[in-house]
């Protein structure tokens, strides 16, 4: 299978040197490479505009990044047990993974939920499930990140009502809802409603948080899924930041002041395998956001300028073949995230090309972060690549490339319009196909897959999710349905439908429906009846 050594030499001589995104790179970078980059305005100092070198002057000396590992499976009880263990082990942050029925706003007894309940995350159908999920966990003392998008307002309402029942003050709650519907249309595809009413749900949560839950991150604008779907580093950067701009614009159009809600927007990027390109991507993202918020939206509060982001290593880079190689890939990717100044990090487990991670694999992934943080010395110095001819050039090129994409999308009428025209979807599909072709031609090498292949892999253990989760969740739901006041549920859902037809904020009627123990599916259905469901025009 492996070609002879001479073939390899010949191939190396012919090979064009490009990043994993296909960006050509020079053999060496010199002072001439950074001509035209102004050290003061383009790069600046850490903690100062445009924050290319980081949002904190002291880097990780003041505070390490948050090691936030995403977890969830089966029933709320099982996941609650995992969370309590995590918190007992010294964690302060939780990150909830929901299953596909929950992400799609479907109850576990829906026909489309068959086989999916509890598989990719935890199933939450009613307030009762949310109460079980956080049983014994004081919501005023933890920060909780919830990966939920189309039904984000409903799940957030459930969380708020659990906090209310615990006697916690909403004003003191801290955490994040992903709430990024644009990347669902672009890449992840867990959407329910058409783009425009979906955007209203997002701006309603912005407005609600501003007044009632001021310490909550009302959105995590996500490039992660865009990259996983096949985007290049530049496309990830450009589409994510342009999504961010779209949310700000819709918030402003809904009557919110920029500095009232933008400081609570956060971001989420991928850490892929091409080391320097990733480091440059994070640096460019900070500079782009700062300049755009100040110059395009007139933001005055420096918290609106500072791009805070979570990073996850690239799931798509993991291989089923020779799975232990994934530990090395993840370590290199995590390193890029840290050197790029991430504020929080999830490292993937070695078995994720095969299944959800086992506990051992998830622990090893966390250890990888701890070794970087405490043994490598990397966290002692702010932005150690600052001033590197290569990294500064890449940073500027990515920034310029993203600005060119912004212009194209602006000309289309903004990101919602661009999505409706299939533009980002087409761009990503094209990049995904090009990368696959490059791999098959062996222009890009994936160790263990298209080179250095072994006939026999060491089998590894994988996690099996208990198949009884579905029946247990369905039983629970019918218990809740028979125990609640049906008239109250009816009235709450009617009020929600009526509010959806007007333009008042939807959070209060959603909170009322949640308090009445209406299920996630019932609440989402009420909105489906008003707005309809989105069906994408497939782009191949």
């Amino acid at each position: 299978m492996a070609p002879a050594a001479t073939d390899k030499l010949a191939a190396a001589a012919d090979r064009s040197f490009t990043t994993i995104s296909g960006r050509p790179v020079e053999p060496v970078y010199t002072e001439a490479s950074v001509a035209g980059i102004d050290p003061a305005t383009d790069v600046g100092e850490a903690g100062q505009f445009p924050f290319t070198r980081g949002i904190h002057a002291s880097g990780y000396r003041g505070k390490l990044w948050t090691m936030r590992q995403f977890a969830g499976f089966g029933t709320p009880e099982e996941t609650n047990e995992r969370y309590r263990r995590l918190l007992k082990a010294g964690g302060t942050g939780l990150s909830v993974a929901f299953d596909l029925p929950t992400l799609m706003g479907l109850d576990p007894d829906h026909t489309l939920s068959i086989g999916e309940v509890g598989k990719c995350g935890v199933n939450v159908a009613t307030l009762a499930d949310m109460e079980r999920l956080f049983d014994g966990i004081a919501l005023s003392d933890v920060t909780t990140s919830m990966t939920i998008n189309s039904p984000a307002a409903v799940i957030f309402a459930m969380y708020l009502v659990v906090a209310e029942k615990q006697g916690a003050d909403w004003a003191r709650l801290s955490g994040t809802i992903q709430n990024d519907i644009l990347k669902e249309f672009i890449a992840q595809k867990e959407y329910i409603y058409p783009p425009r009413p979906s955007m209203r749900l997002v701006t309603d949560t912005f407005a609600f948080c501003t007044t009632h839950v001021p310490r909550w991150n009302s959105i995590s604008v996500s490039g992660y899924h865009i990259r996983e779907a096949g985007a290049t580093a530049l496309q990830e950067l450009a589409f994510t930041l342009r999504d961010g701009i779209e949310y700000v614009q819709w918030g402003v159009d809904a009557g919110l002041a920029v500095d009232a809600f933008v400081p609570r927007m956060s971001f989420f990027f991928n850490a892929h395998s091409d080391f320097f390109e990733e480091v440059a991507k994070y640096r460019a993202a900070r500079a782009l956001w700062a300049k755009t918020m100040r110059d395009r939206f007139g933001a005055k509060d420096d918290r609106s300028w500072k791009l805070r982001f979570h990073t996850q290593t690239a799931g798509v880079s993991l291989t089923a073949q020779q799975p232990y190689n994934n530990v090395v890939r993840t370590a290199i990717q995590a390193l890029a995230g840290v050197l790029g100044g991430t504020n929080s990090l999830h490292t993937n487990s070695l078995d994720e090309a095969l299944a959800l991670p086992t506990e051992e694999a998830a622990t090893l992934a966390l250890r990888t972060q701890q070794i970087i943080a405490h043994e490598s010395g990397i966290a002692s110095v702010v932005d150690p690549f600052g001033g590197s001819y290569f990294v500064e050039r890449l940073t500027k090129d990515l920034e310029d490339g993203a600005l060119a994409y912004f212009e194209r999308i602006d000309r289309m009428g903004g990101m919602v319009a661009a999505i409706e025209q299939g533009f980002p979807q087409r761009e990503i599909a094209e990049s995904a196909y090009k990368f696959q072709q490059a791999m098959e031609r062996r222009e890009k090498i994936i160790v263990g897959v298209n080179d250095f292949v072994q006939d026999q892999d060491t089998p590894i253990e994988t996690l099996y999710v208990d198949e009884t989760a579905a029946t247990r969740q369905i039983d629970r739901l019918s218990q809740v349905r028979s125990g609640r006041d049906a008239g109250e549920v009816h009235r709450a859902l009617d009020a929600l439908r009526a509010a959806a037809q007007r333009s008042t904020n939807l959070m209060p009627p959603i909170l009322d429906a949640v308090r009445a123990y209406a299920s996630l599916g019932e609440i989402c259905d009420a909105l489906r009846q008003v707005w309809g469901e989105y069906e994408e025009t497939t782009v191949l």
Binding site: K189, L354, V465, L540
Partner: protein, 158 residues
């Protein structure tokens, strides 16, 4: 893997003598929206001269089988990354038998643990392609096995 290089002309098909390209339905059953693999393979099969119909997301087994009937498909390629394959495959294969589509080659790709592969093969999913499979392998597999009724167990997995 080994692929025997038999010719793949239309005249192997038991019910037709007309030469036409292999027709493939690429389907995404279940709720997961990860469509990168489905789209890449759809393009690769099209570039390899096959006729490809991509169903789009969240198709029920009933919808997929009905598309296969309507389109007179030679192959159904299922893409599943959510872990729901063990629920979807038996329903789909039962429907295929009910509709007399036993001669349609059914293959699957996605996040499929090794332990599930023998069971899927026993259900009649003749090719199971895990992450890292090349497009060429899948093209070759379809060329060899589409329209051949013998349930040979060739393929990338044991």
């Amino acid at each position: 893997m080994t692929i025997d290089q038999r010719p793949t002309t239309r005249d192997q098909h038991p019910t037709s003598n007309v030469q036409r390209p292999i027709r493939v339905i690429i389907a995404k059953p279940g709720l997961d929206g990860h469509d990168r693999g489905a789209k890449v393979i759809a393009r690769a099969l099209r570039d390899a001269g096959m006729e490809v119909i991509y169903t789009g997301l969240r198709q029920s087994p009933e919808q997929i089988v009905s598309a296969a009937l309507q389109e007179d498909a030679d192959v159904i390629g299922l893409s599943i990354l959510s872990g729901a394959h063990n629920h979807i495959a038996p329903r789909l294969m039962q429907l295929m038998r009910d509709k007399g589509l036993d001669d349609v080659l059914v293959v699957m790709g996605g996040i499929i643990p090794n332990a599930d592969v023998p069971n899927l093969k026993a259900l009649g999913i003749r090719g199971v392609f895990q992450p890292g499979t090349s497009m060429q392998e899948i093209v070759d597999f379809m060329r060899v096995h589409a329209r051949s009724q013998a349930p040979e167990e060739a393929g990338p997995n044991p």
